[in-house]
């Protein structure tokens, strides 16, 4: 459809950023969501927290359907559901001190007074910005990238959330400090049983951070499994391609292999049938083009959406 046509006609076009996906995140687990850009990872994370409204389907939190709660009904739940954004250079207000950044969620939730003070100190301690006095009255521009991201983590944790969406929390950070933010996340999971949805494009990092991992492609989940299982025994051709394309920091080991051609198609008009069939190296015929493969459990806890593995 041309530009004028699309402006003049009443027909509304949709981008199916996330299309019919189901998964669950268990308490105290780090659940990874991996995929290329445009696969719908971030949208998924935002929908879970109602930052983007879902068109259909349901999101349950602790058994309660939260999909279409009004903002007022949802507000008390915001305490338990938090997010860490990708870019610590963009997500912190440059005019606010670290203290006001971290205490803002508390004020919104009506936790003021002595409690507030304590919680802010505690949150900064948890992210190892100590001594806290040294950071409280500084501005974001005075901190390094790693420190900023830790402020963003503190802001998310100050309300003692039960579920945190971490959207590519380290992709903007230098390699030598990535580990400190990720280890912080893993530590909090162990200490406080916080559950995380860790959104990433870096499978090598996901390998070492997540408990379970889902691979997304064009708004669909292609494979979900325990992370060891997924990396050592990937079943979906897309997962295999992704893993094969990750360079390994060892000059004597395997080389990258790229079996997949081309780039991710536009989500406005995704391919029919299996969305990966246009790039799939083991395309098995018409069934891939015509029938959309469902996500089925092929081994315990290992789900795949591929005709190859369906009998």
């Amino acid at each position: 459809m041309g530009f004028f046509q699309s402006v003049l006609s009443k027909q509304v076009l949709f981008v199916r950023a996330v299309d019919d996906i189901s998964f669950e995140v268990k308490r105290g687990e780090i659940f990874g969501l991996a995929g290329e850009s445009g696969s719908g990872k971030t949208t998924t994370g935002r929908v879970l927290l109602k930052l983007t409204e879902a068109t259909g389907g349901k999101v349950f939190f602790e058994g309660k359907d939260i999909t279409f709660l009004s903002e007022k009904e949802f507000k008390p739940l915001r305490r338990k559901l938090q997010i860490i954004f990708q870019d610590p250079y963009e997500s912190l207000n440059p005019l606010m001190t670290i203290r006001s950044i971290v205490e803002e969620p508390l004020i919104i939730q009506g936790i003021v007074g002595k409690d507030m003070e304590e919680k802010v100190y505690k949150a900064l301690e948890d992210v190892e910005l100590i001594p806290q006095e040294e950071f409280l009255f500084r501005f974001p521009h005075e901190l390094s990238g790693g420190q900023r991201q830790r402020v963003a983590v503190a802001r998310a944790l100050v309300l003692d959330p039960e579920f945190v969406v971490a959207d590519e929390p380290v992709s903007m950070l230098d390699v030598s400090i990535r580990a400190e933010v990720l280890n912080l996340m893993v530590g909090l999971q162990a200490k406080r049983h916080v559950s995380f949805l860790y959104i990433t494009h870096d499978l090598a990092l996901a390998r070492h951070v997540c408990d379970r991992l889902a691979v997304m492609y064009l708004g669909k989940i292609m494979e979900v499994s325990d992370v060891d299982q997924l990396v050592n025994n990937p079943l979906h051709p897309y997962t295999r391609a992704l893993i094969g394309a990750v360079p390994v920091p060892d000059p004597t080991s395997r080389r990258v292999e790229v079996q997949v051609k081309g780039e991710i198609p536009s989500p406005v008009n995704p391919p029919s049938g299996c969305r990966f069939h246009t790039r799939c190296p083991v395309y098995i015929g018409d069934v891939c083009r015509e029938v959309e493969p469902p996500l089925v459990e092929v081994e315990k806890g290992h789900f795949v959406a591929c005709h190859l593995h369906h009998k």
Partner: protein
């Protein structure tokens, strides 16, 4: 004879607050048909090394010492700007910048931009010949030749990156510099581009300098690795030696923060505490001592010498030196 020999290169930037020693006594070589990888965190001077080699430093940057010997006879650091422009840039040495996908002019066809690069550097070539060559170049980098008639917005990210590589190869250079060639690309597309670079290296016998913060890319593509920290080389050598036997605590730290997807077990990643120093007033002695867990007194006072441990494997660290002198390996 090395294709390029950088010898004790010093490049400083003058700022209102003083001189920033972005590159301070850096030496390494690049051979024909081989890739040398420059790795390090942001701000360690990797890109400044590349700009110095092409002499495209910002107006406040100057090469204040050292030599850049090209084909062992031409010292680029002292070459006349006019000669540099007519004879060296693009004809001998070319570069693909970081974020190259966005480096193309959106209002010109991709083919015309490659044609421009050719006719600018080789005035004798007609437009038709140049367009012919542009199509061949596109084919070489794996893009359908007819796409020369497209505009950049009609290309995907990976194709733009390929087109930039084609443009860099337009005048048959012998040395090719790629600054972060795979960042900002998706995993699979990045792997495709890396594979292309590797093929070009062997097919055209190109010497390459690969600048990246991602050690795995260096392991994948390079024959030599140079690890930079705060404007100095911490360690350099054959890629296998550096990756298998990292000596400098900084190299070891960097390796620790690079998890491998091939690992059998989940491992805890190690970070290097602290942040890189301000190069306006770098730490005295060894520049890494402020973050080094093995720092000794001498590290704060004396700058460690650059020492050849094994053939071609150089390290600049007091501790390694002390151990080495204590017991000869």
């Amino acid at each position: 004879m090395s294709l390029l020999k950088v010898d004790e290169l010093k490049t400083y930037y003058t700022t209102l607050r003083g001189a920033v020693k972005a590159v301070d006594s850096v030496s390494f070589t690049v051979e024909k048909g081989e890739a040398t990888g420059l790795a390090g965190e942001s701000g360690c001077g990797k890109t400044t090394v590349a700009s110095s080699i092409l002499r495209i430093l910002p107006s406040n940057g100057r090469i204040i010492g050292g030599k850049i010997l090209y084909k062992s006879s031409i010292d680029i650091a002292r070459l006349d700007e006019e000669v540099m422009r007519t004879d060296i840039r693009w004809k001998e040495i070319s570069i693909v910048f970081q974020g190259a996908m966005n480096a193309m002019n959106p209002v010109f066809k991709v083919g015309d931009q490659i044609v421009e690069a050719i006719t600018l550097h080789e005035p004798g070539v007609s437009r038709k010949e140049a367009l012919d060559r542009a199509q061949k170049l596109m084919e070489l980098v794996g893009v359908e030749p007819s796409r020369v008639n497209n505009y950049p917005h009609e290309f995907s990210g990976g194709m733009k990156q390929r087109a930039m590589i084609a443009m860099a190869l337009a005048s048959n250079p012998s040395l090719f510099i790629a600054d972060e060639p795979a960042t900002a690309l998706d995993v699979i597309v990045a792997a495709q581009v890396l594979k292309l670079l590797k093929e070009l290296k062997t097919k055209l016998g190109l010497g390459m300098i690969l600048i990246t913060h991602d050690l795995s890319i260096i392991a994948e593509l390079c024959e030599k690795a140079v690890i930079m920290y705060a404007g100095k080389i911490a360690e350099c050598g054959d890629v296998v030696a550096v990756f298998k036997k990292p000596m400098h605590p900084y190299t070891q730290g960097l390796m620790g923060s690079f998890p491998s997807i091939d690992a059998k077990e989940r491992m805890r990643m190690v970070s290097i505490p602290g942040t890189p120093p301000d190069l306006l007033s770098p730490p005295t002695g060894c520049r890494f001592h402020t973050r080094c867990k093995f720092a000794m007194d001498v590290c704060k006072k004396e700058e460690p010498a650059f020492m050849e441990l094994e053939k071609g494997h150089y390290v600049s660290c007091h501790l390694v030196m002390a151990l080495y002198e204590g017991k000869k390996w």
